[in-house]
Symmetry: C2
Subunit: 146 residues, 2 copies
């Protein structure tokens, strides 16, 4: 069974570039990276799993800064369990909100696509374009950049 390996294999197994992995480490997102006699980084299977988790969080909009915080908490282990949980739960909440937001947007997009369909079918513009009546609240400051 495989024991450990170098950065090239980690890159291949996670789909991230070697550059990115080194950069992530520099940002404090990859704890527990040993070096071999020649100064090369040495990884084990759990690093693959960790990078996959990181990737899930990144892809759901978690910033590098928050990821750094989370990583720092996991480094503290058991003593910071509560904080680890809280951070992840908060992120989950943001994800839930975003999904709701996107779902709402999707309804609008679908309506507009249907509207175009009608327009094409009838050869003339149907009454009241959907986006002209959409009561989108105007002043709300944008919370996330999804």
């Amino acid at each position: 069974m495989r024991r450990d390996f170098h950065i090239g294999e980690l890159a291949a197994r996670t789909g991230r570039s070697i550059y990115t992995i080194r950069w992530y480490e520099k940002q404090g997102l990859i704890p527990g990276v040993a070096r071999d006699a020649g100064g090369r980084r040495v990884y084990a299977d759990h690093h693959v799993a960790w990078l996959d988790l990181i990737d899930r969080l990144r892809r759901t909009g978690m910033s590098i800064a928050q990821l750094r915080q989370y990583t720092a908490l996991t480094r503290q282990g058991k003593s910071a369990l509560k904080e680890q949980r809280a951070l992840l739960a908060a992120h989950g909440e943001r994800v839930r909100e975003t999904i709701a937001d996107w779902t709402e947007a999707l309804a609008l997009i679908d309506a507009k696509v249907a509207f175009y369909g009608e327009w094409m079918k009838q050869g003339k513009r149907p009454e009241l374009a959907p986006h002209r009546r959409a009561a989108v609240p105007a002043k709300v400051p944008r919370k996330r950049r999804a």
Copy 2:
């Protein structure tokens, strides 16, 4: 009833900054902006609606470049209806995929939060951490930066 207004009011009514509005126009995202005698931009209510639509699309991950394309198509009016519809439908598909992706990620996050809860309750790490068994496909090149 209100007829038209200047950039300050448009900014106030859409929640975007004056800078952003001017920049959007430079990027070709705001068609039909007239000028008054003094060279100032003049807007009407439909610009508010348009900016709200733009915002919906932006917030669901449409890039400025795609928005530019879409705007160009709407400028062509009826003759490009089919393309407008296709572009929006394609975006809708991407939104659908992203929602699915995020929903999947949310399940993982919730599982991990629950795992932390167990750990804290039992005082010892439960069997098999969820992210260590998650069979995330590794090599798939990331398609979007959500």
